[in-house]
Point group: C2
């Protein structure tokens, strides 16, 4: 049975326990949210001793189920003040699972200014002081861990942003190559890790055992069915490996839903140089790598390795969201500059979506002009130096917007809206507004039906049907987030019934008892309900499930549309889960 480790940073002790009835069988988001909802006072300060940081692999992580290597991090968010789960690829979740870890729950707080490492092995968890790592970026931090512990360990770490407890700080996770390129990005969970005094968690799988299915035959059958469905889908089988997530740039731009210059327009006239197609050509020409997997067992391989003109590694991807947030959203069309910013964000430990959105609001305020790539890079340098401007950039769009007296600040519950304009893609607007997580496209990706024609077609400009669409997606997504599987399996889930059947077979085979789709989805509903209850107790209500006013008043080109979904429709989305 996997173990829950309780790391007490008050007295620097560790104890382990078996999951009780509430936590038994849970993983990923279903476990992080259950723990936060039960153990953290909803009104506490997110950086206080009362908050907890939970790290949990998914239920299927480490089993060999394809694309199941995601690590969930959970806490009360310093950015949104809601409950928060952010998950990441990379190798750490598989290694944690191999070490027999169901979750690590980090509690309490050490003396201010202290920095610690958690070393996780098959033997357990130890706490070690690491003052020499203070102030380092993620790249230097993990390099030192690999020097000390070897290349086969994985790292979960924070950069300067997390140490500064900035509200947009991420938690980095190393990829197959041991680089800190994968992040639990959203909601400032890196600041919670910083407040707990944890600089890095090193996970050494040596001597551990990967979890074995109880019924290997059923499990294997599920794996095959599932993977065949994944590979047979045009997105997960073709577009994502070839062009990566940034295949979406041209698609969203054509749909008029590619937010440009802080959501002033729906198309970017200079999209071509930052498109997935162009990115593909640049990477191939320079000898980078496409179809790169961020963790072992990923068969989609949407990651890529981006190199400079001399073929030297710069960063992974960059991903669609990052290229948008630092690109079109800032009026920037320089892919190399965007890749540099992605690298800086990863090194500083900053959510790339929040950071790009914040720079765009700074541009709106006149700090630097739209399109000024070098100026934007300069703002990230300020984060590294910890200047007041750097702290504002690392605090997210809402806080910077307040300090600069701005009205056009695209956030929900304090979290920046990602790369799909809710006026041109009304279904995703419903998800932004009603998610328990603040604005989050991954919480219920209605772009699939609204734009991609996956899972059917729902007119993106028509407010009707979007509430139900978002609701169903939010429930299914929350269930997927429990398994450790990547959200990109969802395209196949939506289009090919074999995918869900494969998931159920893998779960049934692994657990050694039947699990059907209904039980699977009920896990999503239950998790959403506990998240909503936490948020309700933290003071969130219906008026928080709204988009900023300008989406209702400013028409977006080229369709000249506003967000039309009514408050009543928004309130209907998840109401029955309360």
């Amino acid at each position: 049975m996997p173990v829950i480790f309780r790391v007490n940073m008050n007295d620097l002790t560790v104890r382990s326990e078996q999951a009780d009835q509430t936590y038994r069988g849970l993983g990923g988001r279903s476990l992080t949210s259950a723990i936060i909802a039960r153990e953290v006072p909803p009104t506490c300060h997110p950086l206080s001793v009362e908050n907890r940081l939970v790290l949990a692999p998914g239920i299927l992580t480490g089993t060999g189920a394809p694309c199941s290597g995601r690590l969930s991090a959970g806490a009360k968010s310093p950015l949104t003040r809601t409950i928060k789960e952010a998950n990441s690829g990379g190798m750490a979740a598989i290694h944690l699972s191999t070490c027999g870890v169901q979750a690590i729950v980090i509690e309490g707080q050490p003396e201010p200014g202290m920095h610690y490492r958690l070393l996780v092995t098959a033997e357990g968890v130890t706490i070690q002081p690491v003052e020499d790592l203070a102030g380092l970026g993620n790249y230097d931090t993990v390099a030192r861990q690999h020097q000390q512990f070897g290349e086969s360990v994985s790292c979960i770490s924070i950069g300067q942003a997390g140490e500064m407890r900035l509200p947009a700080a991420s938690i980095a996770v190393t990829d197959i190559e041991g680089r800190p390129t994968r992040h639990c990005g959203r909601g400032g969970l890196g600041a919670v890790m910083g407040a707990k005094g944890i600089k890095v968690i090193v996970v050494d799988p040596a001597g551990g055992k990967r979890p074995r299915p109880a019924d290997n035959q059923t499990f294997k059958q599920g794996v095959e069915r599932f993977n065949a469905a994944l590979m047979g889908h045009p997105l997960s089988g073709e577009a994502l490996p070839k062009f990566g997530t940034n295949a979406l740039a041209n698609v969203l731009n054509a749909a008029g839903g590619y937010p440009t210059r802080n959501f002033r327009e729906g198309t970017f006239e200079r999209v071509e140089p930052i498109s997935g197609e162009h990115q593909h050509d640049v990477i191939v020409e320079r000898g980078g790598k496409i179809a790169h997997a961020c963790h072992r067992g990923c068969t989609i391989r949407c990651s890529r390795i981006y190199v400079d003109e001399n073929g030297q590694f710069v960063t992974k991807g960059p991903e669609y969201e990052t290229i948008w947030s630092h690109g079109a959203n800032c009026g920037i069309d320089d892919l190399d500059a965007i890749a540099r910013m992605d690298r800086m964000d990863d090194d500083l430990g900053l959510d790339t979506i929040e950071t790009g959105a914040t720079i765009a609001v700074a541009m709106e305020a006149g700090v630097i002009p739209f399109g000024d790539a070098e100026g934007a890079i300069g703002l990230l340098e300020e984060v590294r130096r910890g200047t007041p401007m750097g702290r504002l950039i690392g605090s997210g769009a809402e806080i910077l917007g307040k300090a600069f007296g701005q009205v056009r600040v695209p956030v929900v519950k304090g979290q920046a809206i990602p790369a799909y304009d809710p006026r041109a893609v009304q279904g995703i607007g419903v998800t932004y507004a009603t998610s328990t997580q603040g604005a989050d496209h991954t919480a219920g990706y209605a772009v699939a039906q609204n734009v991609l024609g996956v899972g059917g077609k729902v007119d993106p400009l028509d407010p009707q049907g979007q509430a139900e669409l978002s609701r169903n997606l939010q429930i299914a997504t929350t269930a997927i987030d429990a398994t450790g599987m990547c959200l990109f399996i969802a395209f196949a889930v939506l289009d090919d019934p074999n995918t869900m059947q494969g998931i159920c077979e893998m779960l049934s085979g692994y657990l050694g008892r039947p699990m059907d789709a209904e039980e699977f989805l009920s896990l999503g509903r239950k998790t959403l309900a506990c998240e909503r209850a936490f948020n309700r107790a933290a003071g969130f209500g219906a008026v928080d499930d709204r988009l900023p006013g300008f989406f209702q008043t400013e028409k977006l080109s080229p369709h000249n549309v506003t967000f039309q979904v009514t408050d009543q429709q928004l309130d209907s989305v998840l109401a029955d889960l309360d």
Copy 2:
């Protein structure tokens, strides 16, 4: 009948109207809150075109009722996001009343970057462009108005902070000498004025007529009774004229409720050089002025004129709250440095409470050390220059605290807690938590009974009885805020029944119909109810009526107490008004 002027900044037009049934007979806070609650969407962005700024003299302002010259400003607050009323002394309210103005309602927004003056005369209101005033502080702004319009006009203006739309920006009101020393300080209403593009409102009373009581005999009888009670009370008759508001420093320090170094201690070991007694001696020795009235008709005269060693004017007061916020709360014991900061705050147009509290949080974060007066002055210089650090200082304690990852941030609903530690003065803690305005000592000044022994005695360390005490004070205060009378009349109200009788006689005489204390207090209840309804619709609920967690967990020296009033008691305070 006085007139409501509607100033439309969208199309730069002005129209006037008689109050309808809802607004008829209202003034001060009762009018500003009624207008905001009815006309402003509760969830709108405070700096958006949908917000309105209302300026209103009190019901008795201009009548000759003693101490009735306060100007109420109302809007949705950029700082607290609640409904907000902040009132100020100075001459503008009397002049508005003389011009026949019941209220000025500023609606809409001009093109960004435009600056306008409203000129109010007995003939009406005109809008004039004033690009030459852009970027000026309040002192230069009003000096230019006096050059242009003569010494007898009064001004309502914003400094650089309001132009920058900073959340802690105040609205300045000129005093008898025409200096911008009196402020609608709290809640960032200067930022709303800045968002409306109004740099200054010049009020020229020439040719106007002060309102006359319908029943002059009853009115005069009330004036005499009221004033005799005021002058007979040891606080309003003796302590306040002689030592000013800062008479409280030694008193609160002795009570262990004088928040020191960002609320880390309840006594300041260096209180003597910043006490009211020392301040009195410095002012008298240097040839300044004690017992100074901030507006004509004030018989308490708690203001003073603070001069430098050469006898040159520096600033008014400074007041108790200012000396505390920039003094003990920052570990600073240099009265001259504090006076310079008060002058800078007044010139920049910043709430002195919020600003001092924000500097103290910056000190907590290590930006400058506690006690560093020159460093604190340097931070205010940054506000003038509009640097990122300056914007953070002008954004208030909560935002700066988030950008610097701080937990010990003493705010309620985003507004800084003033100069009475709620652990040592539990009654005022109830007011901070439950006020419709965010943390605000003037909303229900339980310090009177808790510490001063005015209106009876309620043990400041005992949580029992504080909820009811705060409730009654909040209702009475809200009623007083409708009249235009200064809150310092409340000491006499609490101790001498003649005071309330005098108020009722003045109101009855002025209105020409009987008004008793019950009707007077019902005005307070009604206003509070409409404010609470607005806040509820804006998303505020019971969990927002709480103090920050550290007041419940950190014991305050010297009494070693935490805040003990229960959530249930807090929820009982104003619940029946909903």
